[in-house]
């Protein structure tokens, strides 16, 4: 009597046959599709006949130092060391990079063609590192794509660091200073004629495209009542390490109280000349002659002025000035943490005491105060618990009930009582 096939042999055979069929089906599908660049199946299924073979001695070129607005070009050599024609097609380039010199889209075997990349260094923009790329599609099965890269550093007539000055979380009586460096790239260090903070801000001037009457126009705007500014030459040790830098100035901005609570936006201006640069566009200097009134470096000066006490935490909604808890279940309750911050000369007097909570079931615990950093700000943790089993209530700020609150006696002479609104509802 003949026996049926052994189940294990059948299983093994089926697995091998099935995998082979599946794999072959998938590969054949891939090969029948148009060329999908980058698919491993294409690489592993190279045509057996003659193919083009692209050889490029370089795909990256470093321009080194360029002046902002200066145009640079570089030619990349493409050689076909294969046996059939090499076809090249332009892909995309970065926004300001263009490919030219690709008139010869076909390179016969053994021949070389050049692909030229042109780039204008950050026109209308600041200085800084740049890197731009261009993609070339080829019919070389081993190099279906070639990305050409140009890179370097562009220099403007002047480069600020940082690009603006921001004072965060100031007090109305704060007297604080901040500095910014302006690095120049002329033939000699700058001579500063005027440095000030103007009352209103304009567009930060493009140093290359500065209008001839820019300095005169800026001078018509009144000085800021909130800031003063000074300038001193930058120590050579600071700028000498920066390639191409020939000088600079250290600008210091100091606040002038009383400062209004809210945001302030003004503009730091430094008018300067660079000796021997008037009309000079020699190599190493600027491509644009010095304007009649001199160069004007403009930096935004912004500040945010707040009161002596602040509340912070994940649940704090600063747009609406309340603690956002939302609807919670009485079965589970909730707990979260806030911070009270105290700033200004009376910060050490702040010793909060809870005098009221709504809903009454809300427990508030004041933690130990501690200093932040150098002690200008004092941080006081506040732990808030609405325990499980709290009675139902609605303090969502709707018609059904006003917002809840935590009322503190602070100890601060100017703000003796602080009410922190709480948006919460307790349901079953």
């Amino acid at each position: 009597m003949r026996r049926g096939p052994n189940a294990w042999i059948v299983a093994g055979l089926a697995a091998v046959v099935g995998t082979t069929i599946g794999g072959a089906t998938a590969v054949s599908e891939l090969l029948l599709r148009p060329l999908q660049i980058g698919e491993v199946a294409i690489v592993s299924a190279l045509p057996s006949g003659p193919v083009p073979r692209l050889v490029t001695p370089e795909v990256t070129f470093d321009f080194g130092r360029m002046t902002v607005g200066q145009k640079g070009t570089h030619e990349f050599a493409f050689t076909n060391e294969g046996e059939t024609d090499l076809e090249l097609t332009k892909g995309a380039t970065s926004c300001t990079c263009t490919i030219s010199g690709l008139e010869q889209n076909t390179i016969p075997p053994g021949e070389t063609a050049n692909v030229k990349l042109e780039w204008k260094a950050n026109p209308g923009g600041p200085g800084g590192d740049f890197r731009q790329t261009a993609l070339i599609i080829t019919n070389d099965p081993l190099r279906p794509e070639v990305t050409l890269t140009i890179q370097g550093k562009a220099f403007a007539m002047w480069d600020p660091f940082p690009s603006g000055i921001v004072f965060s979380d100031l007090q109305p009586d704060s007297v604080v200073s901040a500095t910014a460096k302006v690095i120049t790239h002329g033939v000699a260090p700058p001579v500063v004629k005027v440095v000030r903070v103007s009352q209103e801000s304009n567009v930060i001037t493009n140093p290359v495209d500065q209008d001839d009457d820019e300095v005169a126009r800026a001078a018509e705007v009144a000085d800021s009542p909130y800031f003063t500014a000074t300038s001193e030459p930058l120590d050579p040790s600071v700028y000498e390490a920066i390639p191409g830098a020939t000088g600079g100035m250290l600008l210091t901005v100091t606040t002038v109280p009383p400062l209004p609570i809210g945001d302030i936006s003004n503009q730091l201006e430094a008018v300067f000349t660079i000796p021997d640069m008037r009309g000079d566009a020699s190599e190493g200097g600027t491509a644009t002659p010095e304007p009649p009134g001199g160069w004007i470096a403009k930096l935004a000066v912004q500040a945010n002025v707040v009161g002596p006490l602040g509340v912070a935490g994940a649940n704090w909604d600063s747009s609406r000035d309340f603690v956002r808890v939302g609807s919670i279940s009485s079965a589970t309750g909730t707990q979260f943490k806030l911070f009270l911050t105290a700033k200004g000369e009376h910060r050490d007097a702040v010793k909060p005491v809870v005098i009221e909570t709504v809903p009454a079931s809300m427990k508030v615990e004041i933690g130990e105060p501690s200093q932040i950093g150098d002690g200008v700000v004092k941080r006081i943790p506040i732990s808030i618990t609405i325990p499980a089993g709290s009675p139902a209530c609605n303090h969502l700020g709707s018609q059904l009930g006003g917002l809840g609150r935590i009322v503190l006696e602070t100890g601060h002479p100017d703000v003796p009582k602080l009410t922190i609104p709480v948006r919460v509802a307790v349901g079953p």
Binding site: G4, P5, A7, V10, A11, L13, A14, A15, V17, G18, T19, I21, G22, G23, A26, Q36, I37, G38, E39, V40, V59, T60, P123, G124, D129, F130, R131, Q132, L135, L142, R143, T147, T149, Q151, V166, S168, D169, A180, E200, N202, D209, D211, D212, R217, E220, D263, Q302, V306, G310, V311, A312, G313, S318, S319, T341, I372, G373, D374, R379, P381
Partner: protein
């Protein structure tokens, strides 16, 4: 003699083997096809072949020949406020945006690659209420995308501390992804953000921390932050990270590439060091750190690219398949890197589009007043009249304008999805009387359709200057001397035939047609579309 035989059938004993054969054959065919044609995460979930192929040929293919990695780390950063491509130059021509980013992460997850997402930081680039709202939205988006670690950039840290804390602090049981070794919101010991994170993916344990460079820290004046030097902070936490027995350690260093490299040399435990600065785009292959191991990753600017670092168990498999060099970690584990352009091949993510719509809604709710926008006097000191005021006398020029795209500029914002007609960063180039690069109105500039309908769209006065006084004199509403009348006329003249006039005109155009929004702008090419006669009626 030929004997007729009944068709052969499997008996009771044979039937299970037949069924087994059929089942296993089907399973094997299915798996065989999957193994050979397993989809690479090279496009968004709903992207068609034609779109994917078009953008592969435009901006390059990705993950060419990669086998499935043990784990992949997706690195992003320096978003600098560019939450989405604005679309001014055609969205398909622009890269970046949170929506495409989410679809990239989704594609990787769908491909079954164990994923860790990490962001260097600097979500915003400006200061003020809009930047605060934007930071909160981006932070929400990063959480929704499942980021494991997010650092801080200097522009993030210039925001008021209470805003930062509201955006980044842990909410309930949901831990914060934000991390910093050397910056503490309300103090390093406040515990609002951890100093490092430990995450696991594909059986690998990764330790991740971030630092703000010392030079960058000097530019921040915020007493509610505690900052220590990057090197001091890393020396403090390095032993703790080492004690966590991580397979790899990642440092997010918001500082220059040179300074990042110095930190990497001082703390060689980090395999992946992500740096700020560098060129506009990341390099094709990021350089090694030291001794040909590790990697220094640049991300480019404005969130246009992501960079993948993928670890493999088998160096030979990776080397034989991928068309790029295999790099090695300090422990010898092979990895490949990939620069990923966030272009239209990724499609759009509904969740991020909704997040951006909510952001726009917040801007609308706050209004220009709630956004605390400052106003500045126009440099000329004059005020605006609106384009319709020009029509009577300059009818030929007005007709050209009326037929141009400039005359419907605000409509494009109103009809965009989501609408952006309450976003100062968009409005500034779509209405009359704003400072384009500061995103603020001049005194007397456009406020809203309801309040200032005559100043809608990109009108005449954005190039020629405010014309209220000129229009009033010409209309006879104000009596002026002939000399004064001529002066007002001449002040609005923009003669591109002269070098000075042309320079003024080109500079004016560049205020809006800048590299971000109009990268291919060329005055001579664009001018014919709006060229208009100079003479008046």
């Amino acid at each position: 003699m030929l004997k007729m035989m009944p068709p052969k059938t499997f008996g009771m004993r044979q039937r299970p083997a037949g069924l087994l054969l059929a089942c296993i054959l089907s399973w094997a065919v299915f798996n065989g096809m999957n193994a050979a044609a397993e989809a690479l995460p090279d496009r968004g979930p709903d992207t068609s072949d034609s779109v994917a192929q078009a953008f592969q040929q435009k901006n390059g293919s990705i993950f060419v020949g990669w086998p499935k990695p043990q784990a992949v780390v997706i690195l992003t950063g320096e978003l600098n406020g560019y939450v989405e491509p604005c679309g001014c130059a055609g969205k398909e021509n622009q890269k970046g945006g949170l929506s495409r980013r989410q679809n990239l992460l989704r594609a990787i997850t769908n491909a079954g690659w164990p994923l860790v997402s990490v962001d260097l930081g600097n979500q915003v680039r400006r200061f003020g209420r809009q930047a605060e709202v934007k930071f909160q939205s981006v932070a929400d988006g990063l959480r929704d995308m499942g980021y494991s670690a997010v650092g801080f950039g200097p522009d993030d840290l210039r925001l008021p501390a209470e805003e930062l804390i509201a955006a980044v602090a842990a909410v309930g049981d949901r831990e914060t992804p934000f991390v910093s070794a050397n910056v503490g919101l309300l103090g390093l010991d406040a515990g609002i953000t951890p100093r490092f994170q430990i995450v696991e993916a594909g059986g690998l344990t990764l330790g991740i921390t971030s630092v703000l460079g010392d030079q960058e820290a000097k530019t921040i004046r915020n007493d509610s932050l505690e900052m220590v030097s990057a090197a001091e902070a890393l020396a403090d936490i390095a032993p703790q990270m080492t004690a966590a027995n991580c397979d790899h350690q990642i440092l997010l260093a918001f500082t220059s590439p040179a300074e990042s490299r110095r930190l990497a040399e001082a703390f060689p435990q980090f395999d992946i060091v992500v740096t700020a600065g560098g060129g506009d785009e990341p390099p094709m292959i990021p350089p090694s750190l030291t001794d040909e191991t590790g990697v220094l990753v640049e991300l480019g600017h404005k969130g246009m690219y992501a960079v993948a670092v993928a670890f493999f168990t088998d160096a030979e498999a990776a080397a034989s398949s991928a068309l790029q060099p295999v790099q090695k970690s300090s422990s010898g584990r092979p990895f490949l890197t990939q620069r990923i352009p966030l272009d239209a091949r990724w499609g759009e993510s509904d969740e991020m589009i909704q997040l951006l719509a909510n952001y726009q809604l917040q801007l609308e709710t706050l209004g220009l007043k709630g956004l605390r926008l400052g106003t500045s006097r126009h440099p000329s000191g004059r005020t605006f009249a609106g384009s319709e005021s020009c029509a009577d006398c300059h009818s030929a020029a007005y007709d050209v304008w009326k037929d141009s795209a400039h005359a419907s500029a605000l409509v494009t914002l109103e009809e965009a999805v989501p609408n952006r007609d309450h976003d100062p960063e968009c409005l500034s180039c779509h209405v009359v009387g704003w400072v384009p690069q500061k995103f603020e109105p001049y005194e007397g500039g456009f406020l809203s359709r309801a309040e200032t309908p005559h100043l809608a769209h990109q009108g005449c006065e954005n190039c020629h200057g405010p014309a209220a006084a000129h229009a009033a004199v010409e209309a006879g509403d104000v009596i002026a001397s002939e000399i004064e009348q001529d002066r007002l006329r001449s002040e609005l003249t923009l003669d591109i035939a002269t070098p000075e006039g042309r320079k003024r005109a080109v500079n004016n155009c560049l205020e809006c047609h800048d590299l971000d929004n109009s990268p291919s702008f060329d005055f001579d090419e664009y001018w014919p579309a709006v060229a208009h006669p100079s003479e008046s009626r």
